[in-house]
Symmetry: C2
Subunit: 409 residues, 2 copies
Amino acid sequence: MRNCIIAQSGGPTSVINSSVMGVVAKNNKIKYYDNVFAGLNGIEGILQEKFFNLSNLTNEQIETIKYTPAAALGSCRYKLKDVTKCTEEYDLLFDIMDKHNIETFFYAGGNDSMDTVNKLSKYAELKNRNLKFFGIPKTIDNDLPIMDHTPGYGSAAKFIASTILENYLDTNVYSKKNVFIVETMGRDTGWLAASATAARINNKCVVDYIYLPESIFNEEQFLNNVKKKLETQDSVFVVVSEGIRNAEGTFISELNAESKKDTFGHVQLGGVGAYLKHILIEKGIVSKVRSLEISTSQRCAMHCASQRDIDEAFSLGEAALDYSSYGENGMLVALKRTSSFPYFCEPIIIHTSKIANQIKYVPTDWINTESNHLNDSAFEYISPLIQGQPNFVLENGLPKFLTLRELIS
Amino acid sequence: MRNCIIAQSGGPTSVINSSVMGVVAKNNKIKYYDNVFAGLNGIEGILQEKFFNLSNLTNEQIETIKYTPAAALGSCRYKLKDVTKCTEEYDLLFDIMDKHNIETFFYAGGNDSMDTVNKLSKYAELKNRNLKFFGIPKTIDNDLPIMDHTPGYGSAAKFIASTILENYLDTNVYSKKNVFIVETMGRDTGWLAASATAARINNKCVVDYIYLPESIFNEEQFLNNVKKKLETQDSVFVVVSEGIRNAEGTFISELNAESKKDTFGHVQLGGVGAYLKHILIEKGIVSKVRSLEISTSQRCAMHCASQRDIDEAFSLGEAALDYSSYGENGMLVALKRTSSFPYFCEPIIIHTSKIANQIKYVPTDWINTESNHLNDSAFEYISPLIQGQPNFVLENGLPKFLTLRELIS
């Protein structure tokens, strides 16, 4: 008997379930493992032996879960204790895996999850345990190094660009001076805000200013830019990443709102749009300002997902299953772009130690000299990732969704 | 020479341009008018003779504008002075119409625009002017009386229900007590919030509580309900209309935020979700609360529009052109539902005097006794209106849009 287990961790994306279904579908084909278990709510659930056998899913269920956003297996933000300080959880996890004949543990997640895979694989090698750990990347943030992009990013970028385009039209219907601000996620990097470059009419980006965490945010320059632009047009459109900071390194959102730290010690952000709205009005630049926080919809809006993203996420799940059958350990599967026009990506494997705690920033040479917009390199990079309308089944006019919650209850 | 003019007014919807293109396409067929002019930015632009000849549009341009959200002709919130006090603007408008051989003025808008059509048609009759005024309803609020529903509502309802469904999945991935609040538009009526009943998995609504302006909002009852529900489930999902009030008649949003009045004297709302989040945390019910204001996306999210809504809006434009050729004056076209299963609606005409300043509320017998949810009548009403994926052309992966701004510049 040889089993594997898969779990999801961190913030959801629209396509993380597609990766999980890729693992299941591939194993249904090649039957390398006897059973593919799901660990409910990430590593937290596995430590409590909360399993569900995914090998019993029907093809119709696999197809529906593939098109279900957020983590269908449940997620967690559980951080394993440092292996140099406490090995109790590591040993417990290994024992649970042995007990259920689980040879391989697939972890679908972001940077922190790849760190977990790295630690577990190294400790297993140290202890001479015949257990393998494999990472499947997902993060809308697109901030993992080496790979071209992460599954989840394309769908988030597509929803953000659609939302910008539609609200640009909405805010331009009145002939009254106004400013519209869209705030995207992105704590350290501006990949999500950069998707604004894809919001185009007649192949011209509709956004006037884009601010990324990669550049220092200068409040005075921002106010002057908006003021000047309002002299020649009624409406100014601004896109801003939640993670922008001033020259002192202070998050702009912190100037506005209280902040608190998450389990991993990261500052939880939000509210930069509200702050910019506040100063535009307070400084008398303009009286009509609307600020839209796209919020969690950018990581779960399956109705606007990129079919290419869904397909790539699925193919990485399949590739992970394949590579694990070759005996790889501590690796993750990733996408390497071999051509942009026509677009082509192929799966590769990278050791998680090269990924964990590394951050990939938006290239400096994509950002203009005023640090308030991006050149066409950004659009050429993003455009292939947002292609294709999602192929989900409709039920009562809306996408049909399925999670383990429905199957278990 | 016999011309007509069409203009748009009030807040945009995803399908108001479809109605305008219905007028244009129908006239291209029957050639009743020599030219269909657009008045830019509503009645404000017509008074300044800012016109654009829509009869010169190509079929491809008509099709693209049909699938463009927000007001492609521009909009205004301009209110004509009361005819009993000042007739100057009325006379000016009539003279401009005569000068350009304009026999009929089509006004696509909500309640206030229908009031304008009513006043203009009556004053034209009083003055024995051979000028006709015709209303084409649009409002995401769905609050116009007599008709089954308004174009624009179905698409807004579809986007709201999709957003709820996806964020319900997102908020349920962690096994940690939390509350998710979605705030919809709806100052006086709960039609938009009621679309939450369409957010279903396995044919069960995923929303725990829905609060409408039609019922008095009891803060204590709300806190108790959420508290009790959290005893049996990790996540509680709440949908609330921006216009809910307490027993004293005070808007809940006013308890939180400053408010100001728009041109028509309506209080501008927003922030009720933020207030409910605040009290849930302050009263110690739960520490993790997220509040999502769907904001302007609900009235412009063409990427998630209802194709049925688009088609109905188009057919009302066609019907308006037809009825105007029969010599009708002061009327509006509207939809009458003749059957729900199978769904069928037919165009009718109603005099604008019966519509202006009237409000259609969500029926009391759809609301449960605790005033915090709706029964299946709401779902049966809404479900047919959110059917069909929108048929737009894609450009760079996103819907292709076109407004007069691009054509004029």
